[in-house]
Every structure is written in C-alpha cells, then in structure tokens.
C-alpha cells in the first residue's frame, strides 16, 4: 500500500463490485430463468428472482430430455465428462512421455520431432476443419468416443510445458538414479512423476475445461443424439428459433453445462491460475 486513502479504496471496491456484478449478470439471469415456468420466462421483463420450478425443470432435462429433444441431458453430461477426461488425461500422458523423450535422450531425428510438434502449436482445429473431418470419416470414427477425443489429444502446449519443467530438474537426480541402477522408466516413475504433480494438476484444470467446452469438433462428428455432448445439446435445442424454444429448459441445460467447468475453476483456483500462466510461457 503506497498511500492510505480510505475514499479511493472505497471507490476501488465500488468499481470492482460493479465489474463483478456485470460479469456475473448473465450467469445469474441464466440461473433465474432455469427456475421459472415457460410463461414466466416469456414475460417482458422476466422476473429477477428465482421461481419455484427449479427441481422440476432440472429433473425434466436431466432424465426426460426437453425443449423438443428426446435425448436426456444426463446422458450428454456423461458424454461431456468422458470427452473432457479422456482429452485431459490423454494429453497429459502423451505429452509427458514425448517431453521425457526429447529432454532425456539423444536420438537421431530428435530435433525434427521437436519441430514437428512445435508446428502444431500454430494451427487450431478451426483452420483445418474440413480436411480433418474427411480424415475422421475415412477412418470411420464419426459418432464415436475415439473420434470425439483422439484428434484433440495431440498438444504442443502441454509438451512444451513439461519440457520446460524437465529442463529445470537438477541433473544430479539423473546421476543419482543412474548410480543406483535405475533405468529411464524407473526414473520417470519414481522421480519425474512425483516432481511434476503440481504441473499435472494445473494442466489438468485447463485441459478439462478445454475438453468439456469443445464445440466445433463434436458438432461436426456427432450426428446421433446419443453421442451429443451437453454443449452441442444446447445448440440443437435453440435451433428452432425464438418462438418454439422452451427457454427455461434451455437455461437449465446451460446451467448444467457450465457448472462443472466453473466449479473446477473456482474450487481449484490456485492450480487454474498457475496452469494458465505456465502454459503461456
């Protein structure tokens, strides 16, 4: 604290409160809308306090499916969870292994491999969407968990993060391991893995959100309702246009879709911030 000026501190709080309220508004309105009857939502303006239909609405979308949709949101949540977990864990595993290979071994083609991975950093899925789709469809992976997850698993960012981290691990540890007769995999399992715990946790938070929130990819490769992720489910619900949309159910689904990642971020705030800052280095 440079100066102690109660008035300006008060204004800082005021500004932050207004800012936070503005940021929270869309989320609050979504929550309120998810607890109302369809008629209440269509009032203009809609009520600003939660209504009585919360349990009803959520039960309906979770188990019966609603808003012109036969698929249950419960099933979609399971799909989203599987997708997010496979992508997060898969990315961490394969990028740790490849970073380990690049840092701890000398082999012909090492630099080439490094650059091949590095280049992928530059091209988001959106850019090469059509040809990637053709590849998936040639491999008959449409409407499958493989198709949903595997193409998104290769990640240059995670590989780099682990590479940077491995480079900071003291060489003495490798020497000690070698003297004790530990092979590379033993060293990986007993030394590197425990040391990487915080990095793994931080990365997991970021990647879980990344996987859960995927949109374009699942939109293209899922055609059966039973394979929809919850984000896609919402999109399909509103495609009927304003009039036919049961907004209270759409908003209940939106709440269900945004709660898991938001909870992960809020509860694991420390890891989240670390992961975000690290993965951009």
């Amino acid at each position: 604290m440079i100066e102690n000026r109660p008035l300006s501190t008060f204004f800082a709080h005021l500004i932050l409160c207004v800012g936070a309220a503005m940021v929270a508004l869309p989320l609050y309105v979504t929550f309120v809308a998810s607890t109302l009857t369809p008629e209440q939502v269509l009032q203009s303006p809609m009520p600003m306090l939660p209504g009585s239909e919360m349990v009803e609405n959520y039960k309906k979308v979770l188990f019966e499916g609603g808003a012109g949709q036969t698929a249950q949101v419960g099933k979609m949540m399971v799909n989203s969870l599987i997708t997010a977990l496979v992508i997060a864990i898969g990315k961490i595993v394969i990028s740790m292994l490849s970073a380990f290979a690049i840092v701890y071994f000398r082999f012909p083609g090492r630099t080439l491999a490094f650059w091949l991975i590095f280049v992928t950093l530059m091209l988001p899925v959106e850019v090469r969407i059509l040809p990637t789709y053709q590849v998936i469809s040639d491999l008959k992976l449409l409407d499958s968990y493989y198709g949903l997850t595997v193409p998104l698993i290769a990640s240059a960012t995670a590989t780099f993060l682990f590479r940077q981290f491995f480079l900071t691990v003291p060489d003495e540890l490798v020497e000690a391991a070698k003297i004790d007769g530990a092979g590379p995999m033993r060293f990986f399992k007993d030394v590197l893995l425990p040391l990487s715990k915080t990095n793994i946790a931080a990365l997991f938070v970021i990647l879980f959100i990344y996987g859960w929130n995927q949109y374009l990819w699942p939109l293209l490769i899922t055609t059966q309702e039973s394979m929809y992720t919850v984000v896609i489910g919402i999109k399909r619900m509103i495609s009927g246009g304003d009039a036919g949309t049961e907004w209270n159910l759409v908003m209940a689904t939106a709440m269900l879709a945004l709660m898991p990642p938001v909870l992960v971020v809020v509860l694991m705030q420390k890891w989240f911030v670390k992961g975000l800052v690290d993965s951009e280095k």
Binding site: I15, A24, L27, I94, A113, I117, M122, N213, I238, P261
Partner: protein, 293 residues
C-alpha cells in the same frame, strides 16, 4: 538449454514419442497437407472430376467481394474485442491490485467466465439481448434504444463483440493482475515521494512496465478473436444478419460444410494458416525480446 546427463537407449525414445507423433501426423499433418493440396484443385458441382487449377482459387478469393468483406469484419471484430477486453480488464485489475480485503471474492467472480463454453456464452448473451424477451433489450428500450440484432447489422456485430469480450475478461484480468503484482513497490513509492499522483504514476511507470504483458495479451486476444470465437458466433448470430458477423473462420466453415465448395474453403484455410503462423511468429519473436525492460 540441454541436459548434460542423458539416458542411453536406442529404441525407448522412439516408443515414448511415437503416440504424440502418430496423432500429430494423422490428425494434423495429413489434414493440413490435404488443405494445401485441395486449395490448388477445383471440383465440379457433383464431385466427379477434379482438376488442378494452380492459384486460381486464391485469385478468385481476392476478387470475391464477400471474402474481402469478411476480412474487414474480422479486422473490426478482433481489434474491438482486443482493445475493449484489454482496457476493461486492465482497469479492473488496477482496482483489484489496490484493495486488500475481499480481493479473493472479486477474483473468483471475475475468473468464472473463462470456464463457460464459448457456445454457451453465445446463447446467454443472445438470451439477454433477445429482441422479444431479453432482459437487457427491455432495459435498453427504457432508455430509448431499440435493439434487434437479427435485423440491425451493427447490433449483430456488437452482440458478438460483447459476448466475446465478456468471456475473455477473465484471462486478461489474471495476466494483468499478475503483471501488476510483479512491479516492484519501491518504484511506485519513489514516484510517490517525488510527488507523482495516481494518474501520473499509472501512465509514467505502471503502464510502461506492463508493456510486455499488454503486448502478449494483445496477440493472444487477436488469436482468440480470430479462431476461438467461432462457437460464440455460430450459437448466436450464425454470421448474420446479412454477413455482418461472418468472420474468416466462420466463412471457412460455412463455405466448406454448407456451401460444399472445397477448393475455396481449402484456399481460405491456407490463408488462415498463414495468418496464424504470422501471429505466432510475432508472439515468439517480439514478446520475448523487443518489449523487455
């Protein structure tokens, strides 16, 4: 930087790196190569015959009014998202840096949008600003602004800008706050003793010291606006009204999947790849070296 001590094994490193390379090869290099290849081809309407046409697809793009229009939209959109998002978050971060009590609460609320899927962000803002039942539409009407983003092109663009900025505030805020907290307090104290007021201190000391962070965030925000906002747009305006929100990424998707014009779509993909590579290059080259103090 290299390790001095390494393990000896002929086969093991290849096994370790194989999964990553296989996935990268199959789902990355193969499609990217295909895009490049297809951009030089022309397919007839029924997909029966394919001819090599050289740069024709690219030349056609340059003469395509809608493509140039889309370039302009993307430029306006991404600069607006970056500038608005950065100023808002910097403002909030300087306030958060100042308060001690309760800063955790503000931070918790402010980082929440990061976790919300872009597609849902689009749906939420579309709902808030829905011409018939939106809460904000109602509030705007009270001050005399008639809002209908399905008819008014400027409002359509504004809708996606607001939604995109809202989502990105979290990210910018975290980096600005970290940047602010890493500025040595002694510098600010010294300026304070020399009689510099709060505004002067901000513009003459804090802001210049934040330049690396700001520049980095600017590039990240541009990339975000170029690519990650696809879902926001598809869930809210679908590129409309007219073509008001049809940014480049949306057009690639639209021409490829809806229009089934493979050559044009592939040529657009290639142009986008060049843009991303340029942005990434910029980020690596200049963020690390030029803007350091």
């Amino acid at each position: 930087m290299e390790k001095r001590v390494v393990f000896d094994s002929k086969l093991l490193p290849y096994l370790l790196i194989a999964p990553q390379l296989v996935i990268t090869g199959v789902f990355f290099f193969w499609p990217a190569g295909q895009a490049l290849y297809q951009s030089f081809l022309e397919q007839d309407a029924f997909g029966n015959s394919v001819t090599f046409v050289g740069l024709k697809n690219f030349i056609a793009l340059l003469h395509d009014e809608t493509y140039l229009e889309s370039f302009k939209t993307t430029a306006i959109f991404s600069v607006a998202v970056a500038v608005l998002g950065l100023s808002l978050s910097l403002f909030l971060a300087t306030q958060a840096d100042r308060v001690i009590k309760g800063s955790r609460w503000y931070r918790t609320v402010l980082i929440a949008p990061y976790a919300v899927a872009p597609a849902i962000v689009g749906v939420l803002w579309m709902f808030l600003l829905s011409p018939s039942l939106g809460l904000l539409t109602h509030a705007l009407a009270a001050v005399g602004i008639e809002w209908d983003h399905n008819m008014n092109q400027t409002q359509g663009l504004l809708l996606v800008i607001v939604a995109a900025v809202w989502k990105q505030i979290s990210y910018n805020f975290i980096f600005f706050l970290a940047g602010l907290q890493s500025i040595p307090k002694s510098l600010i104290e010294a300026a304070s003793i020399d009689g510099a007021g709060r505004t002067r201190r901000f513009w003459d000391i804090i802001f210049p010291l934040l330049t690396p962070t700001t520049f980095f965030l600017f590039v990240v925000n541009m990339v975000y606006a170029f690519f990650d906002t696809f879902a926001i747009i598809d869930a809210s305006t679908k590129g409309g009204p007219g073509r008001a929100t049809e940014i480049l990424v949306y057009k690639v998707y639209h021409d490829g999947f809806k229009g089934l014009d493979l050559g044009a779509s592939a040529a657009q993909s290639v142009v986008l790849m060049v843009i991303v590579i340029a942005l990434t290059f910029l980020q690596f080259r200049y963020v690390e070296r030029k803007v350091q103090y």
